[in-house]
Amino acid sequence: MSAVVDDSHIHEHHGPAKGLGRWLFTTNHKDIGSMYLWFSFTMFLLGGTMAMVIRAELFQPGLQLVDPNFFNQMTTMHGLIMIFGAVMPAFVGLANWMLPMMIGAPDMALPRMNNWSFWILPFAFLLLLSTLFMEGGAPNFGWTAYAPLSTTYGPPSTIFFILSVHMMGVSSIMGAINVIATVLNMRAPGMTLMKMPMFAWAWLITAFLLIAVMPVLAGAITMLLMDTRFGTSFFNAAGGGDPVMYQHIFWFFGHPEVYIMILPAFGIVSHVIPTFARKKLFGYTSMVYAIGSIAFLSFLVWAHHMFTVGMPLAGELFFMYATMLIAVPTGVKVFNWITTMFRGALTFETPMLFACAFVILFSIGGFSGLMLAIAPADFQYHDSYFVVAHFHYVLVPGAVFSIFAAVYYWLPKWTGHMYDEALGKTHFWLSFIGVNLTFFPMHFVGLAGMPRRIPDYALQFADFNQVASIGAFLFGASQFLFLILLIKCVRAGRRASAQVWEGADGLEWTLPSPAPYHTFTTPPKVV
């Protein structure tokens, strides 16, 4: 779309609509981005509360607070809410806000579909959360919902869980279509793909992953529905089916899903580090190829979640090799970030703190992932707290820290105000200490033999569990600092310039802060 019609003067006199209607009917990517982000933060606090219940019960051996069935509901809902309600919507919100501005487009390609993509989510999560109050309780079979625990032995609310996940899937798929259409069609003249910002590359590739695998999840959960309500036997051996097939189908979705949750993070970090190092990203081309390789390989490794299921040797070996291979492009990315920092002129404002912590702590998560890839060793790690430690390292100081970095980085552009730097740094340090206290000891108890998804444990695991619980309470409490900081910044703060950060580079930093309601109604020229 390169028709250059200068109609910017028309929009100067129209601000956003007033009242509730503004938010219900908006097609503006900035409004929709804000809604996604506030929704995601709310879900983060909700899922976090469930984590607090879990860690409170695990503070000591014995059952003190909840019964085992409710505990299983907490672990299940905590996972579902964090993955589908917090991390994914946050990245979509960031995409909505930033992609059009980064590529010089006036909005997303399909603004009305964009509105619907968002508004599905509050309904989907209302439905999911309402299962907590239904007879039989919420889903209690883990977010992975393995059959036949989730079919023959699941609670009546399972059908609502299935419907709500379907809705989330529709939202994600539509959002992904929007991203691809926007990035491929609406870049400003002169912005070739290989001149595109890294966040745009990261999201372009993530969007393809979403379109490829969300339908697979939909298939898997529909088969669960069929088995529970329509008398089929997809996953029931007595009827000629196979419980392990569920796992194959689920993880064919599930593995790309975790890359869906980390590729946008890689994109963010590739913006923040160059800005605060005052140095261009090292190895742009390699970084693009690395993201592409990771995405491609992510389709070939799903059964590493199933090493103990009784796969034939050839299959087990293949998945071990393919999984180990992903370490290569991921390592390349880490090396490139560090080389970007090397011989830069570094300052450590809050976004940079979170980005540096990401590099270190995500890498630690990556290392435990490499250990998990070694299939014979995985027989000791699988379904233990070692796995819990691994995925929380890549997701919390990984994905979540990148989201914090992004919010701190772009808040001045969104609001026109600098956030309170002292409060931001405090939030960072408390979170940093909190996540490490919480998740590092989990490596130890996992190696020592503690299984996952248990509300009570043998005595030799007590001490580290206590440390983990204290860390969790600290991390949880620190997020209220972030909430305070956000509210403060939206309302007031030191005036932010267009540039905001000395080392920032890109079309979004040519716009005023706060960015006007409509931007780039005329495409900019990119050299």
């Binding site: 087990e316 071990m320 390592g331 270190i360 130890f444 299984p451 007590a462």
Partner: protein, 375 residues
């Protein structure tokens, strides 16, 4: 000089140090080396990949730390201009790739070894149930259930927790050392997973399917593990205990169990009194029914109905027997005909019909159960 306060903190600390096993176990940071050749191979693989990761981390984070310390703007650093270098990209792609190949070779060898279940000396079928294990010694023709014995009161903090808290069972699996033990895994209801860290054996137990694994234990001892796949509300409460003994001791144990199985078989025909059935039934109820229907028979409605005062339990005996034997499809009530022998089935039904004030005075005999099962 020890002040009162210092004494207060140092005495418990000293006690902890005097109990080295307890102190060490509490802060255990690593996987056990284990007592089999395979477990030690796995331990080596684990430590190798761990040290590789540590070395890479030290180098990579070291460079980062260097930049953080010495490339700060506040210290006057001026940013350099370089932003690409094809050769270095190739180098730091190929070196990790080579390291991975080096790692994959011993890993492949160990995996191949782990898959070779041929030529076993002892074959044991392991069945996962909600929420216990069953061990059937395939060539010796006996089997038994293995259930957690930690009392509910300990779990609910009314009783002191012993060192084997949550890791103790009534009937451990007994195996000979230095012999190849082959396991066949399946499940009765949902997916479970049988895991003993010191043997480095973990395998999913999948309903309707059979998985295999093997081990050869080098040292006698008691090895404890847990279920490793979420299987419902008592997933944390179905431990695994393997007792490895010298071959002679194993043979004696096998003979005892075979004798017991024969005696049990004979006992089916005996004239059982109400008191005898109640006594046995109470034990069976405790291990097989109480976790859902509660020790007091009140259950946890609606999922787990009350047996105390229930119409089925006090009146409808055929239905009562049918439910215990065949379960209730679509619910968590399992078919206990596959889990309990005829005597235990008769005893537990008799117990339920007479306990907690139900007082029907009725008895169900093992022969009656046998007849019902044959129909």
């Amino acid at each position: 000089m020890l002040s009162r306060r210092r004494l207060g903190t140092s005495v418990p600390l000293l006690c902890l140090l005097l109990h080295p096993a307890a102190a060490m176990a509490a802060w255990e940071v690593n996987m056990p080396r284990g007592v089999t050749d395979v477990s030690q191979d796995i331990y080596s693989l684990h430590m190798t990949i761990f040290w590789i990761c540590v070395v890479i981390a030290v180098i990579v984070f070291g460079v980062m730390l260097w930049s953080i310390l010495f490339h700060r703007k506040s210290q006057g650093a001026k940013p350099s201009n370089f932003h690409e270098h094809t050769t270095i990209e190739i180098v730091w792609t190929l070196i990790p790739f080579a390291i991975l190949i080096a790692m994959a070779i011993p890993a492949t060898a160990t995996l191949v070894e782990m898959y070779d279940t041929s030529d076993s000396d002892v074959d044991i079928k392991v069945t996962g149930y909600q929420w216990k294990w069953r061990y059937d010694y395939l060539n010796e023709e006996f089997g038994f259930l293995s259930t957690l014995t930690t009392p509910q009161d300990a779990i609910y903090n009314q009783l002191e927790k012993t060192p084997e808290y949550l890791l103790e069972v009534d009937e451990p699996m007994v195996v000979p050392i230095n012999k190849k033990i082959r396991f066949l895994f399946t499940a009765n209801d949902v997916i479970h997973s049988w895991w003993v860290p010191e043997l480095a054996v973990k395998k999913d137990a999948i309903p309707g399917f059979i998985n295999e694994a093997w081990t050869r234990i080098n040292e006698p001892g008691i090895y404890r593990g847990q279920c490793a796949e979420l299987c419902g509300k008592d997933h944390a409460f179905m431990p695994v205990v393997v007792k490895a003994v010298p071959e002679e001791e194993y043979e004696i144990w096998v003979a005892e169990r075979q004798q017991k199985a024969r005696e049990e078989y004979e006992l089916r025909n005996k004239e059982w009194t109400l008191e005898e059935l109640m006594a046995r039934g109470e034990k069976v109820y405790g291990t097989s029914c109480a976790s859902c229907h509660m020790p007091d028979g009140n259950g946890l409605p609606p999922a787990f109905p009350a047996l105390r005062g229930s119409a089925i339990v006090t009146q409808d005996m055929p239905r009562h027997i049918d439910i215990v034997l065949n379960g209730v499809p679509g619910t968590a009530m399992q078919a206990f005909r596959d889990q309990l022998g005829e005597i235990d089935l008769a005893a537990v039904i008799t117990y339920e019909r007479n306990a907690w004030g139900n007082e029907t005075g009725e008895i169900v005999t093992p022969l009656q159960i046998m007849e019902t099962m044959e129909q």
